[in-house]
Symmetry: C2
Subunit: 333 residues, 2 copies
């Protein structure tokens, strides 16, 4: 096996090149306090490092410190849309500002145990979008890896679990429709069982809002991402006296719009529809889709701050303000 790889440049190489010891190299490169290095030596070391393209081995550094500056995010099995994409980007930026490196691992269908993944990375913390078993959490703790679960929005939040307002999304939808005078709402539940972890709190939020306003609970129906199938659900809702529906997300909402078209009906006159996420297609739909959007940058900032606290064994900061989520009204309601 031809291994033509160049031998790594190590701190010893830099030391030799600069004519100093490895310790000195380390002190200079890390700006170690309480170690006064003359400017001249300093310069020689820095130049040597630059000349040799020196890159400290993260492995050695991690081994020594027992701690890497990497945050690993375990992505769920379900398809990540642009909203999650945006959240990840913002999270990456927010953590970079705090000196950490963010990476995400798309979960594999043929599920290897998540342990294999974090063991390969040795992150300072693991951020999951789905539940972690107690055994998994214990194993990570034992390895010095902090773990936290985000975006669940359970009512009863467990320790080390982040508060992210999923219920609020559903509540805003229902309140918006109720304020427009709709007395009886429907809920368009997603067909994909993998997203139940998001869908349930959202639907619960809509239900709670109705209860709070003295309206009957929303008529929940599963809506496939298919015009013909959605049409049947639309007829069902209309038979039940539903005049407006909250959809799990914009895609499901678009399916409802397609169903309406297939019935020869239109929104909002025959049935008002509101989605979640504000994807590009929502704006371009006919009619343009009302939706609920979340400020991903603010959410990312909160998650990043929490991660840093948890890594240091400190309590999580208070959740983000409720105002990061709001309704965007368009033609469909």
């Amino acid at each position: 096996m031809a291994d033509d790889r160049v031998r790594r440049v190590t701190s010893a190489d830099v030391a030799r090149e600069a004519g100093v010891s490895r310790a000195t190299v380390s002190y200079v490169l890390n700006d170690t306090p309480h170690q006064s290095i003359p400017a001249e030596t300093r310069r020689r070391v820095l130049e040597a490092a630059a000349r040799l393209d020196y890159a400290p081995s993260a492995a050695a550094r991690t081994l020594r410190s027992g701690r890497s500056d990497v945050v690993l995010c375990l992505l769920p099995d379900w398809p990540v849309g642009p909203e999650v994409g945006a959240l990840l980007g913002n999270l990456s930026a927010a953590l970079a500002r705090r000196g950490m490196t963010f990476v995400a691992h798309p979960s594999t269908r043929e599920d290897r145990p998540i342990a294999e993944i974090w063991k390969a990375i040795t992150p300072a913390a693991v951020l999951a979008f789905e539940d972690l078993s107690a055994a998994e959490i214990a194993a990570m703790r034992a390895a010095g890896v902090a773990s936290l679960v985000a975006l669940l929005g359970r009512s009863r939040r467990r320790p080390g679990e982040l508060e992210v307002p999923q219920q609020r999304v559903g509540r805003l939808q229902a309140e918006h429709l109720a304020a427009l005078g709709h007395p009886r709402l429907g809920y368009a539940y997603p067909d994909d069982p993998r997203v139940a972890i998001f869908a349930e709190p959202r639907r619960d939020g809509a239900r709670a809002a109705c209860a709070g306003l003295g309206l009957p609970a929303p008529v929940s129906r599963t809506v496939p991402l298919d015009g013909a199938a959605a049409a049947a659900v639309v007829r069902d809702w209309r038979d039940a006296g539903v005049t407006a529906v909250c959809a799990y997300n914009d895609e499901v909402a678009l399916a409802v719009l397609a169903g309406l078209r297939a019935c020869g009906l239109t929104a909002p006159g025959d049935l008002a529809v509101i989605g979640v996420d504000d994807i590009v297609a929502a704006r371009l739909a006919d009619p343009a889709l009302s939706t609920v959007t979340t400020d991903q940058a603010a959410l990312a900032e909160y998650l990043a701050a929490t991660i840093v606290e948890v890594i240091h064994g400190r309590p999580a900061p208070p959740g983000p303000g409720e105002d990061i989520t709001r309704v965007v009204r368009r033609a469909s309601t």
Copy 2:
């Protein structure tokens, strides 16, 4: 700073628990060939490891072997849609099958040098979706990190660059429309400058197809993701005698459909439209959008195979078959 973290379980702990040496532990746990360990000892070691929840330190292992089994993907700045999401998921699975761990880093707007990122991970290989500078490639080589660039689909592919058929996408669109008898095509170019790296080869492909069929070059126009703005472009195309357009992707195609609606026109009668990606909203659009789709699983398999070869310093395998990309015809053409 309260550091209540539990000390890591190391191979020394397992050795003590099993009453053997660390070397023996290593041999047993790695199934090292040419080292006959009695079944009894073997069992003791495995049991001790299980009892203690032993997790070998990836950092130490990487340090020792000089090779990690992590592949780092540098995501581009532009928004990743569900197609890229699917690709990443498949890639993760394909690499897992080959014993590697895949992670992705969403690039931050406030770009820190990419060196900081791979240095923090020490991957075996870096997969980028955008160009890497010669200096960056050199630095990675020096650190023993293989690098490769994917999805560019430049005509002239540089060494270590993957072949992924972007031009083919544009070619299929144009050929589809030409086969339907459209003599003069338009090209709907995206508004977002960040996606130019994809958009250019696609448009080039459409242009090449037209040239090959003896048609005039497509009339290329930038189409904002906005109905009103798109309407102006639609009028422009019709004035130019264009009867069908290839769109950069489904979102741009949806914008064209919205533009048509705003003009009181419809597809395909007044203007045929075909997108790329087959997003959910394409199927649900009015009219349902024709599009070009790529078999992400096959593409991921090819990328994974290539990555493994490059890591071992071997030449890249031949590109994936052309048939991984195909037209899905719906009502818009």
